[in-house]
Symmetry: C3
């Protein structure tokens, strides 16, 4: 279990750290560095993604789900890029942070044109630990649903 740091930093500093965190977190995801990506989530992390009625719980289950999606994309000759933009970060009373972002998924077929696949809102609870930032929970909603 990681130790949560005291949140004595400014909101500007938090914003900057979270922007850096998401850049790394999403590059790891899109590059298929699944174990390193999973380490950016807490052990007991819960993801509620579109179409789910129950969240995926736990780092191992998340990693398995990501591996499955990547195999499906590879079989289709498709690449995905995830972008988090317009992120707001709000400290919560329990020492965690709420980060709300516009989440774009851009999908490109080998030999095809890139397309904006999904426009989502991504609401995370993040923890700031001595080992860096981690996602504790994620809830994604799609603009088309």
């Amino acid at each position: 279990m990681s130790i949560t740091l005291p949140s004595t930093v400014s909101e500007d500093q938090l914003h900057l750290e979270v922007a850096r965190f998401y850049a790394r977190h999403l590059q790891l995801l899109d590059d298929g560095d699944v174990d390193e990506w999973a380490a950016t989530c807490t052990d007991d992390c819960a993801f509620l993604l579109p179409g789910m009625t129950e969240p995926v719980r736990g780092r191992q289950a998340l990693a398995a789900a990501v591996r499955k999606v990547r195999e499906e994309l590879a079989a289709k000759g498709e690449r995905q890029r995830h972008l988090h933009v317009m992120t707001t970060v709000t400290p919560r009373e329990d020492g965690t942070f709420r980060a709300r972002s516009y989440g774009l998924v851009i999908s490109t077929q080998r030999g095809g044109d890139p397309r904006l696949h999904r426009m989502c809102v991504c609401e995370d609870v993040l923890v700031r630990t001595a080992d860096g930032w981690q996602v504790q929970s994620r809830r994604v909603t799609r603009d088309d649903q």
Copy 2:
């Protein structure tokens, strides 16, 4: 009338504050928090948007215009997300700031695919007040025009 702060901060700090400001400003707009959004503009704010020959002037007129657009979008079952990216911030001699961004509008119909609706350049004059940043004027130009 808000008090303008002396601009003794670094340009890096300004860039960070403006990025945070736009994230909140645009989330409020897209979420339909119109009164809170209007409070991120000055009382006498002027917006010159594509298709207009005269700017919309004043916080109340702006709020009314935003409410009208939101009703039209709701009637069509459509959601819009506004993104400001690649923002540059330049101090002006009068203590205000020029912020120039690429402004993207992403539009999603319920049940449909998201699409890049507009690609714009957004040129703002911003003021940094004790109550936070505010838009004093905005001029948006569309890349297709």
Copy 3:
């Protein structure tokens, strides 16, 4: 030849400086301020772009290549915007920095809809000099290739 600054700054500070640098670098490119844009690259800068087997080398050759592309776009009535997002910055042992970004190119025909033209990964080696940041080398790969 510019003098490289010692990299005694924090990684947060580096991230912020690089984000500001790219905003200016890409606005200069898209606005056609070719000489100012070229000054954001080192004298001996090398760009390896999609479709090339050999990089374009040197600031003058780069400026000429950019001017040619701009003439072709103007002849077609087309505007391009380049976006770098989700940037990670990593210090290298030689005092330079590796910056890896998702690079989007958005293209708009006069009178047409904007479209996502390219989805790329842009890997730069950047130098931090007394005159500001500069690109020393760039390697761009397209997601569709």
